[in-house]
């Protein structure tokens, strides 16, 4: 039944495309279409979410992810206003008596004056747009936030938003509205990034200089995306300057980076390459300890992108990311990294039908090896890879209806791990966990419809289908999770199929120019997840898929929000309340062995989880003072019958109170002062409530799971950004950034261990490990 739905949808899909391609304008012959691209005049970069406003009709549209817009109107004379935050608006009078092509280039306003932290598209777009629970961040703004070791980081910045929490001190892994870290879909130019962290999670893989746009969906995830329960982080790379050669770079205390943008054919083809490497290990030879001197510890990453405009209707983008971390000491080497490649083709079937076709390959792997000369030598490798084909179409039916539809097909290959001895006399023998494969498909359709001028609806339906496909080995378990036997499937055998609908619905009711009420409901399904029971996450990520033993996770989320702007839209305030229920939640049995375990599925325990919360946000967009204050009150709990004797327990990322204050103040044209202060309730932990002796060792007797809390977390960071005097006619622009992390030296616990005193085995005490005391840093950034 469901398969038939899938096939008929695909048929419908291609018929629509054909109809549109063959019968341009036949569906609305009385209307004329004005369409085009909106770009930055300086570099030709497409502006995502720029607004087009028709004054006479008091109606408008926004550009899509590729800067394209399309509006179909009755013939007539109109005044069009094209605008984008940080850019000077352009007003054009047009006579629309035939289809019109209008590409607009916008000029930036004086950056120093109009810098805005979190961008909106129109001054009150937060009120008028139907989407809620989303935040768009501009790279310029992220760069002003004081950062750990001056290393500005997208993932650290989003953790300062309401409803988003760091899972552990200093970590880039994050939890959105009570979801776990692996429930976030992180896309870089549409390719999944499986492990977005460098250096054990302290820095993210995203190089700011290569990134153009970051948007986080905490709920109300568009029907075009799925596969993860809790959030979508959509990161878009810069396209590359189409007009002139330009460069960006920086020298920091952890890493340095350089980006070069080259127009190969002006206004047609451009190329961007961006690289970054850490150099902490350069200083290691200065260490006193000779073992430390021999260490190597680094990461690097490279972003590449080429794009070519064939004509007004066709444009091709090829983007790629690869990065790697390595840690090498005198006897072993550990390394890990991501690689993504995406090839996209933008095609205009008609002035109203915009399409994008994408082919993606995304990979993550890690390896750990011990030197060949050692008797304990071995090489352990694990990897996963995706091949993905997708297509997204936008049909700009009328100014009141924008239809989006498309499909995605993915082929996952998981190599959970294999160990091979690298020396004949190795103590270890070969150990291989069989690879497994799966297919994940989805089709979707959604429409954003303005019912009346004050009420906009966005509704969509996604249908996803997941299949385990051979060659693979399935281990069968009894009700006590003990393995009974295993079944081997031949290549191409489909041995389990899951599928289901994922409805999405949101509405916006505009109360007046400065206030609105929004509500949304979404269902999401997740078929692949990470086997990880630590809080911070490690490079040894192991993803595994749904299977006959593991049901897909499902989340239902409802949210309602009130949005109100004050002082001519310079202060935005909002309150959002959400409730999320997740079923088939996966947790792990006590003392689970997750890595290098063929019977991983026997370590899993299933139950449900739910979370709810209220998010308060005040955003300032004043002339000199920009930033936000957010407060989140939330709860995230789990109930797994076979864990904690079936009692409800708080999820490890449950932090009931969470406050972030992020501000920057323009002291003068050349000096900006930024500050952020964060506070959150300590994360839940399991502590001993008693102890006993066994064979000379003092062994803890533990409380219920997560019955205690770590000490509360708080920290203040500050930064100054200094622009040297600008000399006229100089192309080189420099910028100094001085920052102090953890100004008042709060010792925030990273972990608390209970240890036995070596000198007196009867004595036990609690020992806290903290990572960062006060850390000053200097970064120099430049662009030309």
């Amino acid at each position: 039944m469901r398969h038939r739905f899938f096939i008929s949808f695909l048929l419908l899909y291609f018929i629509t495309i054909n109809l549109q391609a063959n019968n341009i304008n036949s569906t609305s012959s009385d209307k004329r279409t004005i369409s085009g691209y909106i770009t930055d005049i300086n570099n030709g970069e497409a502006l995502i979410g720029a607004t087009i406003y028709v004054e006479e009709l008091m109606q408008g549209a926004t550009t899509n992810l590729y800067g394209f817009y399309s509006l179909s109107l009755l013939p007539g004379k109109y005044t069009m206003v094209f605008s984008y935050i940080g850019f000077q608006s352009v007003k054009k009078k047009i006579v629309l008596n035939k289809d019109l092509r209008l590409n607009i280039e916008l000029q930036t306003t004086d950056k120093a004056l109009d810098e805005i932290l979190v961008t909106g598209d129109k001054k009150n777009s937060n009120i008028t747009k139907v989407e809620m629970s989303t935040v768009k961040m501009k790279m310029q703004a992220i760069k002003k936030i004081p950062a750990l070791m001056g290393e500005v980081d997208v993932l650290k910045a989003i953790q300062l938003l309401p409803g988003v929490q760091s899972t552990s001190e200093g970590s880039t892994s994050f939890s959105v509205r009570g979801g776990s870290n692996d429930q976030n879909l992180i896309l870089l130019d549409e390719a999944t990034v499986y492990n977005a962290s460098h250096l054990l999670g302290f820095f993210s893989v995203f190089n700011n200089d290569a990134i153009k746009n970051v948007k986080l969906y905490k709920g109300d995830i568009p029907a075009s995306n799925g596969g993860r329960l809790s959030s979508l982080l959509d990161v878009r790379m810069k396209e590359g300057n189409l007009k002139k050669i330009s460069g960006t770079g920086g020298i920091g205390s952890i890493s340095s980076r350089f980006t070069l943008e080259v127009p190969i054919i002006k206004n047609k083809t451009s190329f961007i390459i961006s690289g970054r490497r850490s150099y902490a290990d350069i200083f290691l030879p200065l260490a006193r300890d000779k073992d430390i001197r021999k260490l190597k510890l680094y990461f690097y990453d490279v972003n590449l992108k080429i794009n070519h405009k064939f004509n007004d209707k066709n444009r091709l983008y090829l983007s790629s990311y690869f990065g790697r971390d390595a840690f090498i000491n005198k006897f072993s080497k550990i390394s890990w990294g991501n690689r993504t490649i995406s090839l996209r083709w933008n095609h205009l079937f008609s002035k109203k039908l915009f399409s994008n076709f994408t082919v993606i390959n995304s990979e993550y792997d890690y390896q750990f090896g011990v030197d060949q000369s050692d008797a304990l030598s071995f090489l352990w490798k694990s990897s996963l890879s995706d091949i993905c084909l997708k297509s997204d179409l936008n049909y700009f039916a009328t100014p009141n209806n924008t239809l989006k539809f498309g499909f995605i097909s993915m082929y996952h290959t998981f190599n959970p791990g294999n160990i091979t001895p690298t020396n004949e006399n190795s103590f270890f023998s070969e150990f291989i966990i069989p690879k497994n494969h799966s297919l994940e498909h989805a089709v979707y359709i959604s429409n954003e419809q303005k019912i009346v001028s004050v009420l906009t609806l966005k509704y969509g339906l996604r249908y996803s289908l997941f299949q385990n496909i051979g060659e693979g080995t399935l281990y069968n378990f009894d009700e006590n999770h003990n393995r009974i036997d295993s079944t081997h499937y031949q290549s191409g055998d489909i041995f389990k199929t899951y599928s289901g609908f994922e409805p999405r619905l949101s509405l916006n009711y505009i109360l007046n120019e400065t206030s609105s009420i929004k509500a949304s409901y979404s269902r999401t399904r997740q078929y692949i997840q990470m086997a990880q029971n630590s809080t911070a996450g490690s490079p040894f990520d192991l993803w595994f898929s749904a299977s006959p033993n593991v049901k897909p996770q499902i989340a239902d989320q409802v949210a309602i929000g009130v949005f109100k702007n004050l002082k001519q839209n310079t202060i935005e305030t909002s309150v959002e309340i959400y409730y999320k229920k997740m079923s088939n939640t996966i947790d792990f049995k006590d003392h689970a062995q997750l890595l290098l375990n063929k019977e991983l599925e026997g370590e899993l325990r299933f139950g449900e989880s739910y979370s709810y919360g209220a998010e308060f946000l005040v955003k300032l967009k004043l002339k000199k003072l920009n930033g936000w204050i957010s407060y989140t009150h939330s709860k995230a709990q789990r109930k797994i019958p076979e864990i904690n004797t079936g009692k409800i327990y708080p999820a490890t990322y449950d932090k009931p109170n969470d406050i972030s204050i992020v501000m920057n103040y323009q002291i003068s044209k050349r000096v900006t002062f930024s500050v952020n202060w964060i506070y959150s309730t300590g994360s839940p932990v399991t502590f001993p409530t008693g102890r006993f002796e066994y064979n000379g060792a003092v062994v803890p007797v533990y409380s219920d799971r997560n019955a205690y809390r770590m000490p509360d977390y708080h920290r203040l960071d500050i930064a100054f950004t200094l622009l040297p005097k600008r000399k006229p006619n100089k192309k080189w622009h420099g910028e100094w950034n001085f920052s102090i992390f953890n100004v008042y030296e709060r010792k925030n616990a990273w972990t608390i261990n209970f240890v036995t005193d070596e000198n007196n085995p009867d004595n036990t005490y609690a020992e806290m490990t903290y990572l960062f005391s006060i850390i000053p840093s200097i970064t120099y950034n430049f662009h030309f």
Binding site: F687, T689, G690, F692, E693, K747, T769
Partner: protein, 295 residues
């Protein structure tokens, strides 16, 4: 079955290496005061009986508050009976060591028999009524036939590696290995036990597999010429093997990057008691140190 051997690679080693990386970067440690709740008192049993003919002991203690900071309270006056189904023996409390109950000097566990332990006459929860505790040990496992051992020096770790040469039975077996220096147990705590299954050598000759270590950085493990080094291989059952692994995991500390949530170690004694009752077979082999490693 689970290839627990690789726990050795995966969790301990890697986390040690990477945590080291973090520590050289920035971590600091300090003692802190934490207020912990109290929990109810439970009986703790520490009893392992071997196939060796000897006085064999069981120790009964109770749990205490976590920061009790004194030796565990002993449980005196209990009636402790061990039975193989045919005969039952009552253990006698040692006059000089309260809470330690002993067999006479010709007790040994019979291979292929199942033993039960019954503890009565104790009132741990102080409600005025005696409780009864019961545990059963699986069949005593066969042991490997140990031929010999030898020593090599590993310069990188500055430790002596004890290699064993033994035949492993074709069954699924589990081993606990301990080392003695001149008759004194050197691997004297659970963390120093070497616990392994037979995945790497099932049914085969172990052919010099690394079985225990003498850390030459530790005073009590440094070897001298003429020292007698003895390797003890205990054939243990799977339950006890899992118990020891869980215990070792809980004793090694945790960190947010690699550790899962801590959890109680599962006991095989009923009625909420902790600890373990087990039986095992035992073999030993010795070697005399004839040369010292070049350092």
């Amino acid at each position: 079955m689970k290839d627990k051997k690789y726990t050795f690679i995966s969790e301990k080693n890697i986390s040690m290496i990477l945590i080291f990386a973090i520590i050289i970067l920035c971590a600091c440690q300090e003692k802190i005061n934490i207020k912990l709740d109290e929990t109810f008192t439970r009986l703790v049993v520490d009893g392992s009986f071997s196939t060796d003919t000897a006085i064999q002991k069981i120790k009964l203690t109770t749990t205490s508050d976590y920061f009790h900071n004194q030796p565990a309270p002993r449980v005196s006056g209990a009636k402790v009976i061990i039975s193989d189904g045919d005969t039952s023996i009552m253990l006698i409390e040692n006059d000089n060591a309260s809470g330690v109950y002993e067999t006479d000097n010709n007790f040994y566990c019979d291979k292929n028999k199942t033993y039960t332990l019954t503890i009565t006459n104790v009132d741990i929860d102080k409600d005025g009524n005696y409780e009864e505790y019961y545990a059963q040990s699986s069949v005593v496992r066969p042991n490997s036939e140990i031929d010999s051992i030898n020593l090599t020096y590993n310069e990188r770790w500055n430790m002596l590696v004890i290699h064993s040469y033994a035949w492993d039975p074709p069954t699924k077996d589990f081993y606990l290995m301990k080392v003695y220096k001149n008759g004194v147990l050197v691997s004297d705590s659970v963390s120093e036990y070497f616990v392994t299954d037979d995945v790497l050598f099932n049914g085969n000759y172990t052919n010099g597999i690394a079985s225990q270590f003498l850390d030459q950085n530790k005073a009590d493990e440094i070897i001298r010429l003429g020292d007698i080094i003895t390797l003890e291989i205990d054939g243990i059952n799977e339950d006890y093997y899992n118990y020891l692994l869980e215990l070792q995991q809980e004793l090694q500390g945790s960190n947010p990057i690699f550790s899962g949530p801590p959890a109680n170690v599962k006991s095989n004694i009923n009625n909420g008691a902790l600890g373990f009752f087990t039986t095992y077979s035992l073999t030993r082999a010795s070697v005399v140190v004839k040369e010292l490693p070049d350092k």
